[in-house]
C-alpha cells in the first residue's frame, strides 16, 4: 500500500547523532558500521574510542580522537594546509632519496605524540625537519603532506548510513561476505529490478543483508519485501546497519526456501495446529509466531504476482532463479547477480529453453575513479573483473500452447547490439 503508516521522522531525518543510532565511521576511504551505545567502546583503524561521546553532534561531523577515546569536534580551520606560502623547487634533479632527509626519528615522533601534539602539529614538525621539503615542487609538497595526513591523522567522521556507504564499506572491508559484489554492480541491480515504493519484491541473498537492506531503502517503507532464505533462519545483520525506522520492518517478510516446492504445488499447510501436549508456554508462543510469519509470507507469494526478483548469493543461481521466477507476474523485471559468469550463462540458456522471458542481458560494469587536481588529473585504479556479473530480464506470459523452440530466437545475429546508444 502507498499509505505511509507512521509519521515519526526516521533516523534519516535526525540531523544530530543520538544514542542507539546506527552510524558509519569514516577515515579516508575506510568505513565501519557501529551502533552508538552508552559507554561502549569501538575499535576503528587500530584505535579504541567511545562513539557515544559524539551524541548531540551533527551527522557528517569530523572528530579528533582525544586521549581516552573521547571524540572532540574538529574545527574547520584546523584542516587547512600549511604550504601556501612556502618556497618550492622546480624539479627533483638534485633531490637524493637516501632516507636521511627526515631528521626526526620514530622515537622523536612518539615523544611528540606523547606530549599531546595534534596531528597537524606533528605534520608541521615533519615538514620543518625535512631537509628536502623546500626543494620539492609545490605538487610534491602537497603529495608529501597528503601522505603524512593519511598516516598521522587521528580523526573520524560519523556518517548516517546509506546503501551507498554500506556497499562501499562491505566491498572494502569484507568483500567475501557479499560475494565480491562491487558497489556499482549493486547500483545496477537496484535500478534494473525497478525497485520502488509500493511494489512487492522477492529477495534471495547471501550478502549479509546488504542487498536486502538496499532494496528496503529504495522502497522507503512502502510495499513489501519477502526475503526467501536458505537454512534455519534469515540473515539480516546488514539490514540493522541501515538504521531503518521501526515501521520499515512491518514491510519485511521471510519465507524459508525449503517450503517453496510445497507452496508451488499448493500443498503447503500454514493453518493453526493444536500444539503437542507438554510443550512449554514459551515454546508454544514462538512456534505460533513462526507459523504466523510463514502464513503471511505464503499469502503474499501464492498469488504469483510479485513485482520484482533480486538474487545475489553463493548458491548456483540457476535453480534459484528457475524456482523463484514462478512467483513473478508477467512483465516484471528480475536480476541475478553471480560472482562468476558461467552459472549465469547456464541461467540464460535454461530461460531460453523455458520461454517466458524477454530482454535477457548478461552484463558487468567497470568502474574507474579519477584524481582531479589542477595539472594533475589522471585516472586511478580501474576496477574491473572482480565485481561480479548480472543477468537481467523481464518476464512475459509463459506460452503453454506452442513448443518452446518455436519462440522467436533471441541470440543476436552478427549485427551490433544497441549498447548505451552506440
Amino acid at each position: 500500500s502507498m499509505i505511509r503508516k507512521s509519521t515519526l521522522p526516521p533516523q534519516s531525518r535526525h540531523t544530530s547523532i543520538k544514542a542507539g543510532d546506527y552510524v558509519v565511521l569514516k577515515r579516508g576511504d575506510i568505513f565501519k558500521a557501529v551502533q552508538i551505545q552508552p559507554k561502549k567502546k569501538a575499535m576503528f583503524e587500530k584505535q579504541w574510542f567511545l562513539p557515544d561521546t559524539a551524541v548531540g553532534q551533527l551527522y557528517g561531523s569530523t572528530f579528533d580522537v582525544a586521549p581516552g577515546g573521547i571524540l572532540q569536534p574538529r574545527k574547520p580551520k584546523d584542516t587547512e594546509g600549511s604550504t601556501d606560502a612556502n618556497e618550492a623547487g622546480t624539479d627533483n634533479r638534485h633531490i637524493l632519496d637516501d632516507g636521511k632527509s627526515q631528521k626526526l626519528t620514530r622515537d622523536d615522533i612518539e615523544i611528540l605524540k606523547g606530549q599531546g601534539l595534534k596531528d597537524q602539529e606533528i605534520i608541521q614538525q615533519l615538514v620543518d625537519n625535512s631537509s628536502t621539503f623546500r626543494d620539492k615542487t609545490k605538487y610534491a609538497q602537497d603529495k608529501y603532506i597528503k601522505k603524512k595526513k593519511k598516516k598521522y591523522e587521528n580523526t573520524v567522521t560519523i556518517l548516517r548510513p546509506s546503501c551507498r556507504i554500506l556497499a562501499m564499506m562491505y566491498h572494502g572491508r569484507e568483500p567475501g561476505k557479499i560475494c565480491h559484489m562491487r558497489y556499482d554492480m549493486l547500483a545496477q541491480m537496484l535500478t534494473l529490478a525497478n525497485i520502488h515504493a509500493g511494489s512487492k519484491v522477492l529477495v534471495f541473498e547471501t550478502c549479509a543483508g546488504l542487498v536486502l537492506g538496499s532494496v528496503m531503502e529504495r522502497m522507503g517503507g512502502y510495499g513489501s519485501v519477502i526475503q526467501m532464505f536458505p537454512g534455519g533462519g534469515p540473515v539480516r545483520a546488514g539490514v540493522e546497519s541501515f538504521g531503518f525506522p521501526a515501521h520499515f520492518h512491518d514491510t519485511l517478510h521471510e519465507f524459508p526456501i525449503c517450503h517453496v516446492n510445497a507452496l508451488l504445488a499448493g500443498t503447503l499447510d500454514t493453518a493453526c495446529k493444536d500444539p503437542p501436549a507438554g510443550r512449554a508456554q514459551e515454546r508454544k508462543v514462538k512456534l505460533e509466531e513462526k507459523r504466523k510469519k510463514l502464513a503471511s509470507a505464503a499469502a503474499l507469494l501464492e498469488g504469483r504476482n510479485a513485482d520484482g526478483l533480486v538474487i545475489a548469493s553463493r548458491f548456483h543461481p540457476c535453480p534459484v532463479l528457475l524456482g523463484l521466477i514462478q512467483f513473478l507476474s508477467p512483465s516484471r523485471p528480475f536480476v541475478v547477480y553471480s560472482q562468476y559468469k558461467e552459472p549465469l550463462i547456464e541461467c540464460f540458456t535454461k530461460l531460453k529453453e523455458r520461454g517466458g522471458t524477454v530482454n535477457l542481458r548478461l552484463t558487468d560494469t567497470w568502474l574507474r575513479r579519477y584524481q582531479v587536481l589542477p595539472n594533475r588529473t589522471h585516472p586511478l585504479l580501474l576496477m574491473s573483473g572482480a565485481g561480479g556479473f548480472i543477468l537481467s530480464g523481464t518476464t512475459v506470459a509463459v506460452d503453454d500452447s506452442k513448443p518452446a523452440n518455436s519462440q522467436r530466437a533471441e541470440e543476436p545475429a552478427a549485427k551490433r547490439q544497441k549498447v548505451d546508444g552506440r
Binding site: M2, G60, S162, H196, A197, V358, A397, P412, R422
Partner: protein, 287 residues
C-alpha cells in the same frame, strides 16, 4: 499504468511498450479505437490491448505476435524520442545510488533534456518526494511538462524554463540531491548549494570533457563541498552464444569421436564500451 506504480491490466491512456523481438521495441499510447501498425500486422487497441494483462502475447492482424510490456523508466530510456543526447541506464543507476535517492527525496535537476533521467528519478522518489527540473530551452521544457502529465507523474515534478546558471532552480533550502548535466556546471554550483537543505545533501555533475570536470571540482571545493569523487562507469554486454570449435585430425584414432565441439560461452562486442561522461559526486556539509 504509471511510471511509478505497477498495474496488472492495460488501460486506456497507458503508455506501454510493444516488444517485437530482441532490440526491437516501440512505445505505444493506448487509446480506445486506435490502431498501431507493426511488421507483424495491426494491433487494435480496443480489442487487443485494453483489458489484457501486461506481459501478454498479442497476435497481430498478419498472424505474427508481440508482447506488451508495462512501462518502466529503463524501457522508456531506450524507447523515448530523443530531443537531446540522453543518459542511459548504466549511468542512471550509478547516479541513483550515489545521490542516495529514495522515496521522499527532493531533487533538483538541470537540464531536463529528453527526460530520461527525470523519469528514473521520479520512480525512485515517489510517492512522497519531488523533482524540480530546470530546462533553458522553451520547447523542450514544454515537451517535458507534457510528457510528465501524459505519464501521470506531474504531481511529483515541477518544470521551470529558466537558466540554472543565472536563476538557479527556483527553490532554496529544500533539496536532498542536485544533478547537473549542463555545458558549464561550475556556474551552477553556487545555485546547487543554495537549493540544498541546510542539513546537507549530495550533488552530482555529469560532463563529457575532463576540462569541465576540473572546473567543476574547483567550484565545488570553493563552495565548501566535501568528499569529492569523480568516476566513470562502463557497461560490458556479454553475448551468450554457442560456438563450434573444430577438433584436429591427427590421423585414425578410435577414441576421438567427433569433428568439433560445441561450447556455450560469451563474446564481447567488437568495440569495447565507449565514454559517456564523467560523474563527479560531492557532499554538501551542514551550513
Amino acid at each position: 499504468m504509471s511510471f511509478v506504480e505497477y498495474s496488472d491490466l492495460i488501460q486506456d491512456g497507458d503508455v506501454a511498450i510493444v516488444y517485437l523481438g530482441p532490440e526491437s521495441m516501440m512505445p505505444v499510447k493506448v487509446k480506445q479505437g486506435a490502431q498501431t501498425q507493426t511488421r507483424y500486422g495491426v494491433i487494435r487497441h480496443s480489442s487487443d490491448l485494453i483489458g489484457r494483462r501486461y506481459g501478454s502475447k498479442v497476435t497481430c492482424s498478419k498472424g505474427g505476435w508481440v508482447y506488451v510490456l508495462h512501462m518502466t523508466p529503463e524501457l522508456w530510456t531506450v524507447n523515448l524520442p530523443h530531443r537531446t543526447q540522453i543518459l542511459y541506464t548504466t549511468d542512471i543507476a550509478t547516479i541513483t545510488m550515489m545521490l542516495e535517492l529514495k522515496p521522499g527525496a527532493v531533487v533538483c535537476e538541470s537540464g531536463t533534456g529528453s527526460g530520461s533521467l527525470s523519469h528514473a528519478i521520479l520512480r525512485s522518489i515517489a510517492p512522497s518526494g519531488h523533482l524540480h527540473t530546470v530546462e533553458f530551452h522553451q520547447q523542450r521544457a514544454e515537451k517535458a511538462e507534457e510528457e510528465f502529465k501524459e505519464h501521470r507523474v506531474d504531481r511529483l515534478v515541477t518544470v521551470r524554463n529558466q537558466d540554472v546558471c543565472k536563476d538557479g532552480f527556483g527553490v532554496t533550502g529544500v533539496a536532498d540531491a542536485v544533478f547537473l548535466d549542463i555545458p558549464s556546471p561550475w556556474e551552477a554550483v553556487r545555485h546547487a548549494k543554495a537549493a540544498m537543505k541546510r542539513q546537507g545533501g549530495r550533488v552530482c555533475s555529469f560532463s563529457p570533457c575532463i576540462e569541465q570536470v576540473q572546473k567543476t571540482c574547483e567550484a565545488l571545493v570553493d563552495q565548501g563541498f566535501e568528499e569529492l569523487s569523480t568516476l566513470e562507469v562502463l557497461l560490458r554486454v556479454h553475448d551468450v552464444r554457442t560456438v563450434y570449435l573444430p577438433l584436429p585430425d591427427f590421423g585414425p584414432d578410435e577414441t576421438a569421436p567427433q569433428t568439433s565441439v560445441a561450447l556455450k560461452t560469451t563474446t564481447l562486442p567488437r568495440e569495447m564500451p565507449g565514454h559517456t561522461g564523467y560523474l563527479t559526486f560531492a557532499t554538501k556539509p551542514r551550513t
